[in-house]
């Protein structure tokens, strides 16, 4: 009885097998290293003689050299990452794709194998084509990313321009810089605070020390500290990040030292409030309302709290000077502050203030690059519109 059933089953299985013919092997399999690669990727491509029958999947495997041809016996279930003896399944692709990129160990070469398989509903292999193998192949780690040449050029160009103008500045003094009213206002307002006997509040913005705006702000802080030291006015510095506070302390001390008033320097006036945006805003509002500074200077990166600070400052009738490259906050500073440095003006400020030829040279370099960029854009537009070729896409792949 049972034997009969078994026979029947075998017979059925046989008919099923004969019904679905084994798929044809891959007509070709190739493995190539990728350009501009970290040395951890290989690009596997293959071709078929005919379009794959529906339900056909391509299995790609990888192994160290010396491995025997993998055995894709019926009944196996394969998913990417599985081990098959010495072989590792790289991928099982259904959609009839013709390539994949494999991530591998660096500085090691691999064999690759590929085959077409038919699978049952549960993913188990029912039929497999003969296996095509190739290799060994190893990835190539590039030492220069060709597609990024343009950016290197940009950086080098700016660098060289700085160098060039620094030399120019050394030879001929006083390069012209257009006026920045916001910056001119700083010293007057410090003077005003002195007359009113009220402190100056300086906020270094809401970004870490690594943020360029924060750095620009700290550069200006040096100058402000020097002035307040000369005028003998209290300077309170509110910091959002402790690391910024550490640096701000150094800078303020130096400012006082430059003014020869190191004795007047009080480290407890350089505060770390907290690094939670609105707790910080609340804290600074507290300072504005209770210490009543006559000058509030907001230089650096600011976010939502900008208006919160500026409006509170406006209430206390303080002179407010703001500067940020944070586009979204500029309108609020513009509406609620007396003076606002827009975007790049913030970076220009330190140069403008110190009149240090090196810094001025820096500005000049930036300006020169702007011209270059504008020319590039105009030419690019002209060429592209004329349909000659797409300069932008050529230069920045």
């Amino acid at each position: 009885m049972r034997a009969a059933a078994l026979l029947l089953a075998v017979a059925l299985a046989a008919t099923v097998r004969s019904a679905t013919a084994a798929p044809a092997p891959l007509s070709s399999l190739d493995v190539q290293p990728l350009p501009n690669d970290s040395g951890q990727h290989l690009h596997v491509t293959w071709t078929r003689t005919a379009a794959p029958a529906p339900g056909t999947a391509t299995v790609i495997l990888r192994a160290r050299p010396g491995a025997a041809t993998p055995d894709l016996a019926p009944g196996r279930k394969l998913t990417a990452g599985d081990a098959l003896g010495p072989w590792t399944v790289v991928g099982v692709l259904e959609a009839g794709e013709l390539d994949l990129t494999d991530e591998i160990e660096a500085d090691t070469s691999y064999l690759y194998a590929g085959a077409e398989v038919l699978r049952a509903a549960d993913g188990a292999i029912t039929e497999a084509s003969p296996v095509t193998t190739i290799g060994p192949r190893a990835a190539e780690a590039a030492l220069f990313h060709r597609q990024r040449t343009a950016y290197l050029v940009i950086v080098l160009a700016i660098g060289l321009l700085i160098y060039w103008y620094v030399r120019a500045a050394r030879t001929k003094k006083d390069l012209y810089i257009r006026r920045l009213p916001g910056v001119d206002a700083i010293e007057d307002s410090i003077g005003r605070s002195t007359e009113m006997g009220r402190p100056v509040l300086y906020v270094t913005g809401l970004e870490e020390i690594q943020n360029i705006q924060t750095i620009a702000s700290l550069l200006i802080l040096g100058y402000v500290a020097e002035k307040t030291a000369q005028y003998d006015t209290d300077l309170k510095v509110a910091n959002y990040y402790p690391l910024t506070m550490v640096v701000a302390e150094e800078i303020v001390r130096q400012g006082y030292a430059n003014a020869g008033r190191i004795d007047a320097y009080r480290p407890e006036n350089v505060l770390f409030i907290t690094a939670e945006q609105f707790a910080f805003a609340a804290g600074v509002n507290g300072i504005i309302l209770r210490d009543r500074p006559a000058t509030n200077i907001y230089f650096g990166t600011f976010y939502g709290e900008s208006l919160l600070l500026a409006e509170t400052g406006f209430l206390t009738g303080a002179v407010q000077i703001a500067g940020t490259a944070e586009l979204t906050q500029l309108p609020f500073f513009i509406t609620a502050c007396d003076y606002t440095l827009i975007g790049e003006e913030l970076y220009a400020a330190s140069a403008y203030l110190t009149r240090d030829p090196v810094l001025l040279a820096n500005l000049k370099a930036a300006d020169a690059f702007k011209i270059a960029a504008m020319i590039f854009i105009v030419v690019g537009v002209a060429l592209a519109t004329a349909g000659v070729f797409d300069l932008g896409a050529k230069v920045f792949p």
């Binding site: 990452g81 991530e103 970004e207 943020n211 945006q277 976010y303 939502g304 586009l327 979204t328």
Partner: protein, 297 residues
């Protein structure tokens, strides 16, 4: 002589405006206008990007927000999660905001591990979703600090960035769905729920552009102007701006919620501000005219 009305209004107590604004926010809660919320082009693009994903796509979701910004983008988050779950997408979550982790945990409990739209959800037309299982259907990598640098690290290796384990301490190699998900480039789509910095902007700057990643972002209304250029250049393939955008997205997904209701209230608030501006200008010009007159006489 008697002070001109415009002068008096010039220095009238701004706290009256506060009061009006307060009413404008509270009253409509009880008497809504019921204006329909329509998606704008950038929102539609975001929706289409998700809609075009294949079944079981692998999606990286970065939840960079704090409690303050939830009203604006949480509605989008709920909507997009529903849309992704309907596609059985494998989800990987992370955050770069230290204000976020407890919030993210709550989202996992309230939106991922339960069905958002179980059969018979009122006012919902689309497919139903299912509860997701931790480390099977989704992984929460948790929080890492470090602004742009850490986002760049996501781009090169998630394992390194998250010290090789998920938020609940499970080693990443022991999570099957993390197979082949080494870095951001391995995902089919990256969804940025981004309330500010670090967020969508940093993703664009430090990885998106570099790796040509398909990224959609939901941001606060404020950042919309900031990110719009990136949408124009295709560095972001979709952008959902603020509560209005979220409301539009809810409409597209077919499950109106807090966003749609909020956007309705928004109208009144906008009217108040517009009136404030107009009023301010009337006062200003009246005053100027008055001074001219006096100057003339």
């Amino acid at each position: 002589m008697k002070e001109h009305w415009s002068d008096r209004l010039q220095r009238f107590d701004r706290r009256w405006i506060f009061l009006v604004m307060g009413l404008a926010v509270v009253v409509p809660l009880f008497f809504p206008l019921g204006l329909p919320a329509k998606p704008d082009r950038m929102t539609k693009a975001a929706f289409n990007a998700v809609d075009a994903l294949p079944e079981g796509a692998r999606v990286f979701v970065s939840i960079d927000l704090d409690p303050a910004s939830t009203p604006e983008i949480e509605p989008f988050f709920r909507a997009v999660i529903l849309q992704l779950k309907r596609k059985n997408a494998k989800l990987v979550f992370a955050t770069t905001w230290y204000q976020a982790p407890p919030l993210v945990d709550r989202y996992m409990r309230e939106t991922i591990e339960v069905a958002i739209a179980p059969a018979g959800t009122a006012g919902y037309s689309g497919l139903n979703d299912r509860p997701y299982r931790k480390n099977v259907d989704y992984v929460n990598l948790g929080f890492r600090d470090g602004k742009g640098a850490i986002i760049q690290a996501f781009g090169s290796s998630l394992r390194l960035a998250f010290d090789n384990h998920a938020d609940d301490g499970t080693a990443l190699e022991r999570i099957p769905m993390m197979r082949g998900l080494e870095k951001l480039a391995d995902f089919d789509l990256i969804v940025l729920v981004s309330a500010g910095s670090p967020g969508a902007k940093e993703y664009v700057q430090f990885v998106g552009t570099r790796e040509r990643l398909p990224m959609i972002a939901a941001c606060t209304a404020v950042s919309t102007t900031d990110l719009a250029p990136y949408f124009q250049t295709g560095q972001l393939i979709g952008l959902v701006g603020g509560m209005a955008g979220s409301a539009g997205y809810e409409t597209l997904v077919g499950k109106p919620g807090a966003g749609t209701a909020g956007a309705d209230v928004l109208n009144i608030g906008n009217i108040v501000v517009i009136l404030a501006i107009v009023f301010g200008n009337v006062v200003y010009f009246a005053g100027r005219y008055h001074r001219r007159q006096r100057g003339a006489s």
